[in-house]
């Protein structure tokens, strides 16, 4: 089997309070069919065998649906492949002899926990501020009792595809969370189930987003380009309309 040699520069940081730095590693036994995370697993096996600390990185489903994996690969969150989370990125997209720089998602509200792991609970607090709907307890309603036009359902589904990974924040030159927050506001504003808290939701989620210390949106649209689910900035425009509607209508 063809083996590749890669030169890795990886951000190593002991804990939240220590300064970190890029550390270089050379890996000789990478195969093109490995996923990016499997490549890091191989690196970690070598490090453990040598008695060194393995590189910490977030991951869970490795199927591109859970939103746990992160990493900024050569300056691009989730790496060079479009609409692809890091766990779905494969080493065939790199060449033998390549140098790959791997850094954590960077934003003040995403503090580094260790190495490449960052704390994204700011997103949870934004969701808790308004990303929910009221439901009546009781027996489940029959299917299709609330008719929703196809176009609206599609648009809401596009927004609902957000897995909350935070790549939008990592890619944004301003570290703004607008794409994430707008996907959540948009999804619920479009559907009948989201109507009772519609205004409150927009106001509270945006207030919480600002409180967490994310930057303002300058409309660079870099977030849309890195989003593994291709969430469009059309949702950011809708979020802004929702906010103004809540304020003035």
């Amino acid at each position: 089997m063809k083996k590749m040699t890669l030169h890795l520069r990886i951000w190593r940081q002991k804990d939240a309070n220590s300064p970190g730095k890029l550390v270089s590693y050379t890996l000789n036994d990478v195969t093109p069919e490995m996923s990016f995370l499997e490549m890091l697993d191989v690196l970690n096996e070598h490090l453990i065998a040598k008695g060194e600390e393995p590189v910490e990185f977030d991951n869970d489903c490795r199927e591109g649906i859970c939103g746990m994996c992160s990493l900024v690969i050569n300056g691009i969150p989730h790496g060079p492949e479009h609409a692809t989370a890091t766990c779905q990125l494969h080493m065939r997209h790199f060449k033998d002899g390549d140098t790959i720089t791997i850094e954590p998602f960077r934003a003040k509200p995403f503090p580094v926990v260790k190495d490449l792991v960052v704390d994204r609970s700011a997103f949870d607090r934004i969701l808790a501020a308004g990303g929910y709907i009221s439901v009546n307890a009781g027996s489940a309603p029959d299917a299709n009792t609330i008719p929703i036009p196809k176009e609206i359902a599609d648009e809401a589904m596009d927004a609902a595809a957000c897995i909350g990974c935070g790549a939008c924040v990592a890619a944004c030159p301003n570290a703004s969370a607008s794409l994430f927050v707008s996907a959540k506001i948009s999804q619920l504003a479009l559907l009948p189930q989201g109507q009772p808290e519609r205004k409150r939701r927009a106001l509270r989620m945006i207030e919480q987003m600002d409180k967490e210390g994310f930057g303002d949106c300058s409309n660079h649209a870099e977030c849309e380009a890195v989003c593994p689910k291709e969430i469009s900035i059309v949702h950011i425009a809708r979020m802004r309309r929702e906010y103004m509607r809540a304020m003035f209508c």
Binding site: G215, S218, N219, E222
Partner: protein
């Protein structure tokens, strides 16, 4: 319910203000350029009469000017606020940065808004001092005594240094508007997948027309007065 001031300071409200003030200033620039094309004529009278006509609005003109100044101040405060907040939001930067390409609209123009904005402000201060508050020459047109602005403009634009400064400032204005125009629509929540490509393209057109128009006037006058 948040207060009016906290709305204005919120990330969404701030950009709303930037967009409205920015678009209003673009409307002013279009009017300003259209009127100033009269400077291209070798005959000073039409331009002086146009300037005199504007001044004849009296207090209405002053109100319009005050609104423009207020808009500029609001625009600048919000712009500086976006810049400062962005620096706080990422205290540790990346070693390697890049762009993931389309559909990203990150560009030289979009990442230099604060710098092109500051240059526009410095330009504006010099521009107003030179012309509005500059030397007062008089002329008589059709028996009416009025300011001879045409003469002042000709004198100023005979200085190659001044003309060069104009050219640079106006090119930077073009970059500001290249990102600014479509961005203002997005900030106002006006993004429809069918119309946004048109607005994005219109931004290029407006940027080029305003930049080339405003730098063309001093270059034209310099060529007419000094070179030819």
């Amino acid at each position: 319910m948040p207060s009016f001031m906290s709305t204005v300071r919120s990330s969404v409200g701030k950009k709303f203000l930037m967009a409205i003030t920015g678009l209003a200033m673009i409307v002013f620039l279009i009017e300003h350029l259209t009127g100033n094309f009269l400077l291209l004529q070798p005959n000073p009278e039409p331009y002086n009469k146009y300037a005199h006509f504007l001044l004849s609005f009296g207090w209405l003109l002053i109100v319009a000017e005050l609104i423009l100044v207020a808009f500029l101040v609001i625009h600048m405060i919000s712009g500086i606020s976006v810049f400062l907040k962005k620096r706080q939001a990422r205290p540790v930067g990346y070693h390697v940065t890049g762009s993931a390409g389309k559909p990203s609209k990150k560009s030289f123009a979009s990442t230099t808004m604060i710098y092109t904005g500051i240059v526009i402000f410095i330009f504006l201060a010099i521009h107003l001092k030179t012309f509005k508050y500059g030397p007062y020459y008089e002329t008589t047109v059709d028996g009416v005594v009025m300011r001879d602005l045409y003469r002042l403009v000709n004198e100023v634009f005979s200085d190659p240094l001044y003309v060069g400064g104009y050219v640079v400032a106006m090119i930077l204005l073009g970059f500001h508007l290249r990102h600014g125009f479509w961005s203002a629509f997005q900030s106002l929540g006006l993004n429809h997948p069918r119309y946004m490509p048109i607005i994005y393209g219109l931004g290029v057109l407006i940027a080029i027309v305003l930049a080339v128009g405003f730098l063309g006037i001093p270059v034209w006058i310099y060529l007419r007065e000094v070179v030819l």
